[in-house]
């Protein structure tokens, strides 16, 4: 490599470094917030990382992507709104090709009991430690990873995966094609729903009161325990369904499928002499709870372990 080549390369690298330095604007903001206040965060693309502390304060750090209009922080001690604002566009807005702005990364510290409402498009979301009354996350294609203990949690995604470890008394999570993975101490109501995404739910040393799961073509896999008089309802069109419950299950379990295979320990699978379809209705233990598993063409399996 000649001296001229090296000089040109060094100059190019210097230009790239300079561009990088100006591309993103550092963020360093703080606002007071009541310990049980509410924080709303909106960011189209990039990252949203939320952590908690014991201070009655919200701290926002990170970098504002090039082309973003501004970071807008509104509200008061009870209700704070953090929005990444984009220049006015026409057409399909953040979804359209007109959006040339760079990703924005937000790192937000919030009071541990503060309610949280996050709305993103393609930004990845990572939340840890929140123990609020309410946690709500809405994404289109961003990945969502949560390890928290909100009393109630609500997650909605189109194609982004949801990886959730939560201790909650009420959880609702749905996607179109994103996979849904839910773990944690879940002792109340759980609702999980996808179109084609895979559902995987596993509770840890808790018994659910009510669990409903639904997919069109995604597989469903549930490993849980049922509270006394609890209810589980799972249904899919073409996905496979796999439900694992403890051996000491006390519930009436019904299974139905049009063309899928049904499997349940000790249950007699009924098939009509003429025509398709199979079903079973079996009581386990005292039959306190109620469990139904339904499919059109997917296989449905009950396991007792």
């Amino acid at each position: 490599m000649t001296r001229a080549h090296i000089q040109r390369l060094a100059f190019g690298l210097a230009l790239l470094t300079a561009h990088g330095a100006f591309a993103a604007t550092p963020i360093n903001e703080s606002r007071p917030l009541d310990p049980r206040g509410r924080v709303e965060i909106e960011n189209v693309k990039g990252n949203v990382d939320v952590r908690v502390w014991d201070k009655p304060e919200v701290k926002i750090e990170g970098s504002l992507g090039e082309g973003v209009e501004r970071l807008e922080i509104d509200g008061d001690r009870e209700h704070l709104s953090i929005r990444v604002k984009y220049p006015n566009r026409s057409g399909m807005g953040v979804f359209g090709g007109s959006d040339k702005s760079e990703p924005t990364d937000l790192r937000v510290m919030v009071p541990v009991r503060a309610d949280l409402d996050i709305d993103v498009v393609s930004a990845d979301v990572n939340v840890e430690g929140v123990a609020s009354n309410e946690l709500s996350i809405d994404t289109v294609s961003g990945e969502v990873t949560v390890a928290a203990a909100p009393r109630e949690a609500d997650f909605d995604s189109v194609s982004g995966d949801l990886v959730l470890t939560v201790n909650s008394s009420r959880v609702s999570a749905e996607t179109v094609s994103g996979d849904l993975n839910l773990r944690g101490r879940l002792d109340g109501e759980v609702r999980v729903e996808t179109v084609s995404g895979r559902i995987d739910v596993s509770t840890l040393n808790t018994r659910v009161q009510k669990l409903s799961g639904s997919t069109v073509s995604g597989d469903i896999r549930i490993n849980t325990a049922l509270a006394t008089n609890g209810r589980i309802s799972l249904e899919t069109v073409s996905g496979d369904l796999d439900l694992t419950l403890p051996r000491n299950l006390s519930a009436n379990v019904r299974g139905e499928s049009f063309s899928g295979d049904l499997t349940a320990p000790g249950a007699q699978i009924n098939r009509p002499k003429h025509g398709p379809g199979s079903s079973f209705d079996h009581r386990y233990g005292n039959g306190d709870g109620d469990v139904t598993i339904e499919s059109f063409s997917g296989d449905a399996t009950l396991r007792l372990e």
């Binding site: 399909m92 289109v140 398709p276 379809g277 079903s279």
Partner: protein, 174 residues
């Protein structure tokens, strides 16, 4: 799941009575295609200022979504909570056709709403999600052709259509 039945005798009689009542309700609740044209004309006749403020398809989409929900609810009521696994024990051809009719009505309302939205293509990053929803809706319709008496499939179709309309709405609001 049929909570309207209190004994075996009523279980035999009630569905027919309900069916006729609901058939009458359906005429009231589900507008036909001509009504849609009227709605579209009225929307287009609104002042231009209003049209600029709100995308013209929002109202029909909201209305169609409501209709899809209403039809789905009526369909579920009419099907009496009959599950998919009881095909061998549900021989009534009339009952099967009712569920199918509801599915067809739901599909028509959904298609009308999508026509109102217009021929525009969704953004590239959301195209896979729209394709996935369409693929799964087709899968459900195909399943309904094989098992036309399935409450499960009717409810799944309602959810899938509602989800697709909601996604289209989200794109427009963005």
């Amino acid at each position: 799941m049929n909570t309207h039945d209190t004994d075996d005798t009523r279980r035999d009689d009630l569905p027919d009575a309900l069916r006729w009542q609901l058939r009458a309700m359906r005429r009231d609740d589900a507008p036909d295609r001509d009504l849609w044209s009227g709605i579209a004309e009225r929307i287009q006749a609104q002042p231009r200022q209003l049209a600029r403020q709100r995308p013209r398809w929002i109202a029909p989409v909201a209305m169609a979504a409501t209709l899809v929900l209403a039809i789905g609810t009526i369909g579920l009521w009419r099907s009496g909570g009959e599950g998919p696994g009881s095909p061998g024990t549900q021989p009534a051809a009339q009952s099967e056709s009712l569920v199918q009719l509801e599915a067809q009505g739901m599909r028509r309302q959904y298609q009308a709403a999508m026509i109102e939205i217009g021929p525009g293509r969704p953004p590239a990053e959301l195209q896979p999600a729209f394709d996935e929803l369409d693929r799964n809706a087709a899968l459900i319709l195909d399943a309904l052709a094989h098992n036309p008496d399935s409450r499960l499939l009717l409810e799944q179709l309602r959810r899938t259509y509602a989800r697709r309309l909601a996604l289209a709405q989200r794109v427009a609001y963005a």
